[in-house]
Structures are given as C-alpha cells and as structure tokens.
C-alpha cells in the first residue's frame, strides 16, 4: 500500500517547523548563533545609556545634588503636569482612537496623518510653531488672556507642550488596542441590550485595556521626558527635563546625572508595571 511507504523524517532536536530538515546542521548552528549575537548587541546598545548612568553615578553626587533646597520642585511639577496631560489624553484621545479603529470617521487616512504629523515633527519645531499658535499675540492667546490665562511660561504651557509630544503615542497605541477588539463582540453586547456607550464600557474598554494601559504609560514616559517643545514655550516653571538641562549648563555633567536618575525612576516604573499587568490580564483571559 502506498500509505505504508511514506517515510517519516524526524526533525533535529530543538528545531521544528517546515523546511528545517533541509538545512545542514552546521549552517543551522552558525545561523542561530549569528542571530543571537545580533540580538545581544542591539539589546546591550539600547540599554547602554542606562548602564552608563548607573556606573557613573556616585552616592556623594546624588546626596549633594538632591539635598539642595527646592531640588524636588521640578519633579513635583513634572508629575503634576504629567498627570494632567494623561487626563487630557484619556478624555480627548480615547474617542479619537476608537473612531479611527472602527473606521467611523470620513477620510480616515487624513485623520491618521494628522495624528502622525505631531509625532513626525521634531519637538523643537512643534515648540516654535506653538508660539505662533497659542502665543500672547495670537487669537488663541487673546482668548486665553481674556480668561486670565497664558500659554507661555506657565503650567498650562507645560501641559500643552507635553500633550503635543505624547498624544500620538497614546492615540496610535489606543487605536491598535481597539482594533484588536472583535466588532462582533460589540454587536453581541448590543443584541444583549447594551446601548453603544454601555457596550463600550463593558466590552470594548476591558478588552482593549491591556493595550490601552501600555499606550497610556508610554505617553506618560514621553510627557515626563518632554523637552523640545517645553524648552520653547514653557522654560518656566522648570520641569524635570529642563532642570537637567539647566544644571548641565550651569554646573556640568556630574551634578546633572542625579536628576537624570530621578527622571528615569519616575518615568519608567509605570510603563513597566503596565506591561506586566497587561501581560497578566492577557494570561487570565487564556484561563
């Protein structure tokens, strides 16, 4: 019988997959070690700055820099403005991301391009253009002045600059998160009696939550580190990245490093926590 003549080639240990058996063993190992080396080099290169920071910090420099009066004011300011920025992104960015994911907007490419533009423009350029947009001699500036507000060198200016630097990361990340939610599930929720808003709250958001959390915390890290636009329209009050910059200008590299550490310590845990949480949430869903 033809069926009994089929020979079974067993794949080499540790390697499955189609075509695996056709490549000679030696070449396969060379290939694999090359890939591993490449990955390792990129990983170390990307982490390099963090490693340099840790190895170049001295305990003495940290204590002397951070014990100065008002040393933590920029940190508090950055956390406050970052929190406001996140609120703005959640409130305004989420509906946009959802509409983009569901194709609910006319000319979706145009909308996406608009979001991308603020990511592709260099932050410094955004800062310059913001002066022309919300500066004191512009129509928006006049309106703000009528409200006794100003978008130059104020907390508001800082938030505006941070929003511009972080919004695309949140909107595009949230769009991807919503896209991964099966529209049929929203439809099923509607058939079971949920109006769109309730279905959004009970189905779309929980299902997109892991992706939303990651997108939001990446935006948080961008907002914390926002510098280019901030240096133009919100030089004062001094946020953390500007504190690093001015310290570097005034007293040099060693005394600026502790503030860099502070920035990392504040900006990074949230994304890492969100990453771990979302991985767990996905795991729970798998049961």
């Amino acid at each position: 019988m033809a069926a009994s003549q089929v020979t079974v080639t067993s794949p080499a240990p540790g390697r499955g997959g189609p075509g695996g058996a056709a490549v000679p063993r030696g070449l396969r190992y060379a290939n694999r070690s090359l890939a591993l080396t490449g990955t390792g080099i990129i990983w170390i290169a990307l982490l390099g700055p963090v490693i340099a920071l840790v190895t170049h910090l001295s305990w003495h420099a940290i204590t002397s820099s951070l014990s100065a009066p008002g040393a933590f004011d920029p940190l508090i300011l950055s956390v406050e403005s970052g929190a406001v920025t996140l609120g703005v992104l959640l409130l305004l960015g989420t509906p946009l991301a959802w509409a983009l994911a569901r194709g609910a907007l006319p000319f979706p490419r145009v909308w996406e391009a608009g979001v991308l533009a603020s990511m592709l423009l260099p932050p410094l350029v955004i800062g310059l253009l913001l002066v022309f947009m919300v500066g004191p001699y512009t129509p928006i500036g006049h309106v703000l002045a009528d409200l006794h507000l100003s978008a130059t060198d104020t907390f508001l200016a800082l938030v505006i600059a941070q929003v511009y630097e972080s919004a695309p990361y949140y909107v595009l990340g949230a769009q991807a998160a919503f896209s991964s939610v099966d529209p049929r599930l929203e439809e099923q929720a509607a058939l079971l009696g949920d109006p769109p808003r309730r279905a959004f709250r009970r189905v779309s958001v929980p299902l997109a939550a892991p992706g939303l959390a990651v997108a939001l915390t990446i935006a948080w890290a961008r907002a914390m580190g926002a510098f280019g636009a901030v240096v133009i329209i919100a030089y004062h009050p001094t946020a953390l990245p500007l504190q690093i910059w001015t310290t570097l200008q005034e007293t040099g590299l060693p005394s600026a490093l502790p503030f860099a550490l502070v920035l990392l310590v504040v900006a990074l845990p949230l994304p890492i926590a969100a990453y771990i949480w979302s991985a767990r949430a996905r795991g729970r869903r798998r049961g």
């Binding site: 099923q188 058939l191 079971l192 109006p195 279905a199 189905v203 299902l207 869903r285």
Partner: protein, 335 residues
C-alpha cells in the same frame, strides 16, 4: 409572533421576504450561500436597515419604513442572535457571560434561573471557567444559555453549528428545539444543509437570490417542490422527460429511486449503469436513462454496463417554465 415583510438592499440584489413565525414556532431559512438568508436575520435583529418594510415582534413594531418611521436599535429589540462564532466575551467568566444581560447584581431569582439553565445545558460545572478554556460545543452551550437568560422575544440562529461534528450538531439542535418549545418564542434558523433545517424546523422557507420560493413543512419542500429551482436546491439532481407528456419533466432525487418496476408508485425508467461509488452505507450509481444522466443511491452495487429498471418514486413534475404540474397521486400522473 414575529412578522417580517421587508426589502433589504445588498450589493448584488435585494432581498425580499415576507414571513410570519408564531410563538414557539421554528422556521428554517434554507438556501444556497449568498441567497440573502443572513441579511434577512440581520434586518430582524436591527443590524441591517431595510429599504422598505415592516417588522413586528410580540406586538411591538421594530422596523417600519412607513409612517411613523420606526427603526429600533438592536439593544431595544430583545432579539437574540447566535452565529457560528459563539461570541462569548473573553474577559468574562462563563458565569458573567451567562448573566451579561442582567445589569444589577444577580438576585436570588436570577441565581435560581441560572442554576436551572446551566443544569439543562449541562454547563453547571463550567461557571468559573474562562471562555478560552471551553471546547466548541461547550462554548455554544454557554452562548445559548446567555440568550435564554437574556429573555429574548425571538431567537435567531445563523448556521450556529457549522464546523462542529455531526453528533454534537445533532445534540445541540435537539437542545435548541426543546428549549424553544419550552420558551414559546418564535425562532428562525438559517442553514444551507437541508438535513439540519429538517431536524430543527416546523416549516422551511426556501430562499434563492433574495426571494422566498416556497414555504412549507420539511417533507413538503422535499416531496412537493413548487418550482424546479426548489427541487434543485433540495437535492433533485436529474430531470427526465415523462413519456406521453410533451415538454414535462420529472425530478429525480437520488434517495427516491428504487430498483424494479412499480408503475403504480412512480415513473419507471430503463437505463444503463455508467459508474458508481460508495455513499454512506449505500451505493451512489450514475445511470444513463431516457436521454439524461441520473443518480440513484441504492443498497447494492451495480457494475457499469448493467441494464437496469428503476422506479422514481412519486416524482414531482415540471412544465418548461419551471412550475410544478400534476402534483400528487402518481399512478397515472401527471394530469
């Protein structure tokens, strides 16, 4: 009672249908893929907007294009829809999926009903599980339970059990039949396999190219197709001329052929066997007879070249315009 009289536009044609389903009645929509069956269900569920028509359920008007114009959104219709994908919410446990339509915290009455439904469906042991852990059959049981606990006024099934193995499909269909009878709600099943619709339905509507060609009992649509197209859809594979009646043809269904001459039971044909292969426990034999090729499923194999006398049992006959003629009492038909 569910009444629908609608015209829904699709890209290629528009679906026109008028049907009434009584409380506790099970109607099946049968037709080839792309006939517009799903479109019709979606119009009833509020997921597709009819260009013209009226849909009413249990005394409530769901859709009306006349005056006053009414188009209730899906969440106000109380129409349950089950598709091939059970559509369980992956972030909720089986229990939370089942109680999804209950917005307030489940009270004692809810829990009593939950216990009852999960008992009937045989999913009482799965309440804490996440949907990803369920087998296909279990997921469908949960989806069915969720519809029952949502207290829908009508249940729609869109080829729900396609892709499940035959035994499981049978079990689930029987379960649905008994539950619909118990709940006394109108229900519609869409399927493109005749046996499935026959196992489910009290009545079958045959749909083709957006038109309902015939509505009748499961045996009626098979034994008494009103037009030739229905006969083709329900499995008549050959059409042979009837001697003595010019231009009238008789439909030959492979399962309605027996060997031997029984002129009082149907149309007798003589032909030559051209081939054969096993089909289930029977033999599917192709025969050249009366200038046409016909297929018959017979209990015994027949070698190619064999001369054979066959009786096509009580065949439906059609005039050249495709309409059924002289249906009934073969012995001497058509008239």
């Amino acid at each position: 009672m569910l009444e629908a009289d609608v015209e829904v536009d699709r890209r290629d044609f528009s679906v026109r249908a008028s049907l009434t389903v009584a409380q506790g009645e099970r109607l099946a929509l049968f037709g080839p893929s792309g006939a517009g069956k799903t479109t019709l269900l979606e119009a009833i569920a509020g997921l597709a907007a009819p260009r013209r028509g009226r849909i009413a359920l249990a005394g409530r008007v769901l859709t009306s294009t006349g005056k006053p114009q009414i188009a209730l959104p899906p969440w106000q219709r109380r129409v349950g829809l089950l598709r091939q994908d059970p559509g369980l919410f992956p972030h909720l446990s089986v229990r939370d999926n089942l109680l999804y339509a209950r917005l307030r915290r489940a009270g004692r009455a809810d829990l009593g009903e939950l216990a009852e439904v999960t008992d009937v469906l045989g999913i009482a042991g799965l309440l804490a599980a996440m949907p990803a852990r369920l087998s296909g059959g279990q997921a469908h049981r949960v989806a069915l339970g969720r519809l029952l606990l949502a207290h829908c006024d009508a249940l729609l099934f869109d080829e729900p059990y396609t892709g499940l193995d035959a035994g499981l499909r049978r079990t689930l269909t029987d379960l649905v039949v008994s539950l619909v009878a118990q709940r006394r709600v109108p229900s519609i099943l869409v399927a493109h396999e005749l046996a499935e619709t026959q196992a489910f339905a009290d009545r079958i509507a045959v749909l083709d190219q957006g038109q309902i060609l015939q509505i009748g009992t499961p045996s009626d649509v098979v034994l008494r197709p009103k037009v030739r197209r229905v006969a083709e859809l329900v499995g008549y594979t050959g059409f042979v001329p009837v001697p003595g009646f010019a231009k009238i043809v008789a439909g030959v269904h492979p399962d309605r052929v027996t060997s031997g001459r029984y002129p009082e039971r149907g149309l007798v044909l003589e032909g030559t066997v051209t081939g054969g292969r096993p089909s289930g426990a029977l033999w599917e034999i192709t025969i050249h007879a009366a200038g046409a090729t016909i297929v018959a499923r017979l209990p015994e194999a027949a070698p190619a070249g064999l001369e054979l006398a066959l009786t096509v049992l009580d065949p439906p006959c059609f005039s050249p315009d495709g309409m059924a003629v002289g249906i009934g009492e073969w012995a001497g038909a058509p008239r």
